[in-house]
Symmetry: D2
Subunit: 374 residues, 4 copies
């Protein structure tokens, strides 16, 4: 029974009830340096609402994103799987429409999106920046993908190794090559929900796909990610501006990284300036001498920890084999002079690699720490 307001008596109360607004909420910013002239946008391009198989009204996704420090989300409700349809009767653009006003109020960029949900192959694909999701409802999956392309959508392959669809081995199918060659498939999730797909990172590197990491939220966010050991993942987009157009351009230009739990994966050209931008040396010139011990204080001014392992010894002095730089903390490390020459060095060079910052080649990011000495 459709009933919005009945009996006239209740009319004036309509404005008095709580509608989802920005009022009274608290946001915890995610502190990651801006780099290379870009803004580092925190994005989640894959989530669901009651309009497909999710558990929340679309506005909740906007509220969660705002509270949790994100900048950009895409509500990607399934086209072909709508288990609440007995109760919810709406078209494929509806969840976007419902969420958009609140997103605008709260300064969250809401990218229109939808999930093409098929058997393997091709599996599940998200289409971002769709103009009219209704037109992606096709019997033939390839036609749905072509329609996405014609609407200017950015299409990526979701959870490519999901064991339900790839139980024996994680396989790249001819259908994916077809999509790739047709310029339809542009990206791939290397992380989804709480699962990392390393093979997808290889494919991204080989086939020049944009890497993404998304939550695929169905439940409320704090129900799906409820502990310290499992954090909500995000796609970092290095964008010229916080607008849909600039974000799309950044995706097409392959300017992303993926952050999940304490791991950051991306091209060296992004990871290195993030590390450099986050780290501050809090000591003056060390004046290290032979057989002398001095303490260097390093402040990590970001929300990403750095787990460093020595990749080669330093010259003239010794330093720790391992350094952990927790987020928003200063750490004190010990340097010991082991030669007469060290007193003459202007800079002490330390050679590490960050075991939690992984390049697209799958390697630990090499980092140098240069310490003013004399």
């Amino acid at each position: 029974m459709k009933m919005l307001i009945r009996f006239g008596i209740i009319v004036y109360l309509a404005f008095l009830f709580v509608v989802p607004t920005a009022k009274g909420q608290i946001r915890k910013e995610i502190r990651i340096p801006d780099i290379l002239g870009y803004q580092t946008l925190k994005c989640d391009f894959h989530m669901h609402t009651v309009f497909s198989d999710g558990d929340v009204w679309p506005t909740v996704r906007v509220q969660e994103a705002w509270r949790e420090g994100l900048d950009v989300i895409a509500i990607s409700d399934h086209i072909e799987y709508r288990p609440h349809s007995e109760d919810i009767d709406a078209d494929l653009n509806r969840s976007y429409e419902v969420a958009k006003p609140l997103a605008d109020q709260m300064g969250i960029v809401l990218v229109p999106a939808v999930e093409i949900t098929r058997n393997m192959p091709p599996g599940h694909l998200n289409a971002l920046f769709v103009k009219n999701a209704n037109l992606l409802e096709r019997e033939d999956w390839y036609e749905a993908c072509v329609e996405a392309k014609e609407q200017g959508a950015f299409v990526f392959w979701n959870h490519p190794g999901w064991e339900v669809q790839q139980p024996d081995t994680m396989k790249w199918w001819p259908e994916h090559s077809r999509l790739l060659n047709a310029g339809i498939l542009k990206g791939i999730e290397i992380y989804n929900d709480k699962q990392f797909y390393p093979k997808a990172l290889n494919w991204a590197q080989e086939k020049n796909l944009v890497i993404l990491g998304n939550s695929d939220l169905h439940e409320p966010s704090q129900q799906q990610y409820n502990g310290e050991d499992q954090k909500r993942p995000m796609t970092l987009v290095f964008s010229l501006d916080k607008t849909e157009a600039a974000i799309k351009a950044a995706l097409l230009d392959n300017r992303t990284a993926v952050l999940f739990n304490d791991t950051l994966i991306g091209d060296r050209r992004f990871l290195t300036p993030i590390f450099i931008g986050a780290i501050q040396l809090k000591s003056k010139k060390l004046n290290l001498q032979n057989q002398d011990i001095k303490y260097l204080q390093i402040y990590n001014n970001s929300d990403i920890p750095f787990k460093l392992q020595q990749r080669q010894p330093s010259v003239g002095f010794s330093c720790p084999k391992e350094i952990i730089l927790p987020p928003n903390r200063t750490v004190s490390i010990e340097l010991t002079g082991i030669s007469d020459e060290v007193a003459q060095m202007t800079t002490l060079k330390m050679f590490y690699e960050a075991t939690n910052l992984i390049t697209k080649r799958g390697e630990n990011l090499p980092v140098n720490i240069d310490v003013p000495n004399k």
Copy 2:
């Protein structure tokens, strides 16, 4: 467009998607003693879903309740206010139907309920244990209430002092007397969302109404109660069993208390055994002597803190003017002998009142602590 499963292709996947289940969730029990032969059930009798003006699918309310240590909930969607009706087309029993299977799976008692949502007077009323909520949709509010009674419902007045409906003063209207005298109105919320209504406690005491404290959740629970200073409230029901029938009997027999933040309100006959059941003295006989200091260790084996203030001095020895007993902690307090007689006392009696345990008369609960001495 109604679409549950299309294209046949997707059919088999239907069983592979995540449906809300009990699997993999973690519950934090709420530790409050069982008393007087009853089970202390933790209940929330007032919340909403997308089926009226809430933001979550009904199953989320069950999941939240389970995770947060509750035993019993009632999903009380509004009859007359259904702002999502443009998208959601369902009758008034639907949210109960959707949530019931999961509630059964998880051992949560789901009480069928609905909220009669009217102007003041009479304002908003919840009807619990309704048999068919659809029949409560009436033009005349009183007829809706009579129908509730005829279905054997337990009816209580929600947020009676809500400033939107009672802007100038919190008033008991003739309409409420009418409901009370007709044996329809049986209870009243003294706490709703994050608001305490002390006047409602007075009314409850004078008019013999059952006191309740409920969340009135609209958002996800962890969004509405997101800090240490604001916790989800609950109605404690002292019930013979964890079944709908026993809970109903307990409500009709006025066996409730209300817990919000760190305050517990209820009849002395419930508060006193809760305090006694929670507190354990962890010291042996003190053997206190004149001019001697001994330490008494008190363990609070519950999740409710106790904030004690001395209401009269002890005889023969001195003890702290104030004692805070945090939940799940042992506290050490100092007793000093100030007379020769104290060495002969078998028991040292201490006289306190708990400033966070309030009786229905609005007074601090007097508590005695008796310490074995000799």
Copy 3:
């Protein structure tokens, strides 16, 4: 029995044992803006070690200070009260000597200090920047104070309202006037341990005394301050540099504020720029219209919360009566246009006072928030 190393056998192990070093520790910086060209140094000028009546070796005070984000400490062991003297045999400079090497290693400024510990009057006084604490051991308390002055010490009155010494009323004695007029007494603790002395703030304002807030630590820091409701207090010193000389100059120039729990007390000329430096508006031009609602996002980029109450209504629009800005969080507040003129305003002016920022006159700090509109 004096025994450092015996039996020769153990000699080489001496270097292998753990000596207190800076290695492996983690520091949580305290984020408060630097203002007016000064560095905001976080200081604690009152604490004890085993060398008087404290419980820790002096190096622990340095380690705690470093870990907890402080910049400057003074170890002010008692002159006249040394209850461990049966076991510990050392002069009055010894605790400084023991702590100094580690303080230098860790970049903590350790100010030499001592506590003149007498009956009331004058009570307990700290002398900072002493050159030789041994010379302050005098039979006559006034001579001890004169000696302090002659050594160039900065003397302040500790816990002036401590009920043990001022049981009936908190009184300013003739002896204190004598010290003040002699140019010996320069400062006063308005906060000590977990106690605020508002009367001392009045005296500071009237008599132009420098205000300080210190821990008076005896136990390990995390034992004395072990909960969220009780935090370690500190004296903020607005200093040209992080050196003893600059800190002394800042104290003599009355450039301090006191931070305890969530309250900050100090002269307006310091509080206002702290507030301004901490707050960032995270919204662009609001473009507020009549009868329109817009959301303003305010980011508190410091570790101090701000609790704002509206001190007068705004013109042309309404805004919340109360705003809480938690540390390191963004808050969203609602502004509603209530006039046609508001659309023309370039800036929307909001008039608040911070109830947790108290001026030396004992008043809430008035703060304006100006919002770009058009």
Copy 4:
């Protein structure tokens, strides 16, 4: 300069200063079941104070132990390494004497102890229950050990694999066999500070040594164990009573287990009843049917987590391959009927092993969970 109280003037204040007492402290109990008629005592038998190379006054060790939920400690200051002796002049029993009154006040059993601190071999050895530690100061280490034995001490080998003393390989020396055969060496630390020594567990099993795990605290406890990933270890002693005599008897009877971070190591005869005592099934008869899914709720009523892996499949139904039971939480796990017979089973048997409960043989503890079904 020795000075306790001078100038008479200060005398009365002596009683007004804070002396370490039990007053005002909060203790967090450690919840581990009592088993087999014994009390499960939480013990730390290895720590230091300013009287050797530690950083705290002995009373702090008592306060820490009480606050952190321990029952028994031993302050084992070094005999041969006393780096503070320039300032602290006391005999080897002094730290015990200083701590004992507070331990008695607070109900902490303080076992007299001392650490024989030598090169390898034999390395460092703790002697518990010494009667006069001074007599253990000998030139010859073996004579020191003989003296310990003659005083009825319980001697154990500390951090046997400490890389400073065993840099190449962790070796059992002839000297240790000598001590063992002489009935002097009775125990061994398998865990010390933050280091686990698995080889020591083998030796314990082969040579019938009592296993211990201790903190070897030097700093304040919350400075040494300051994160979630590193918790203070403890030796669990299953004792008939909380007295020195009963604890000694329990040690001699090899009734210990070792708890560090989330791992518990001990004989099966202790681990199994701990697991059984901690786990409560919170569901009634499951009534599982073929092709049916039911949810079993398991409550872990202890502070030890249990990490279970399936060691063999169940008959007639399937259950999770892995179950994590966090401390003080209820977990819901899914059981699926896969045969017609399951409906007839009275009990469903599940076969797991706890990967964090390790037997003395170094194996995961096998655990069965039997679920009432019909």
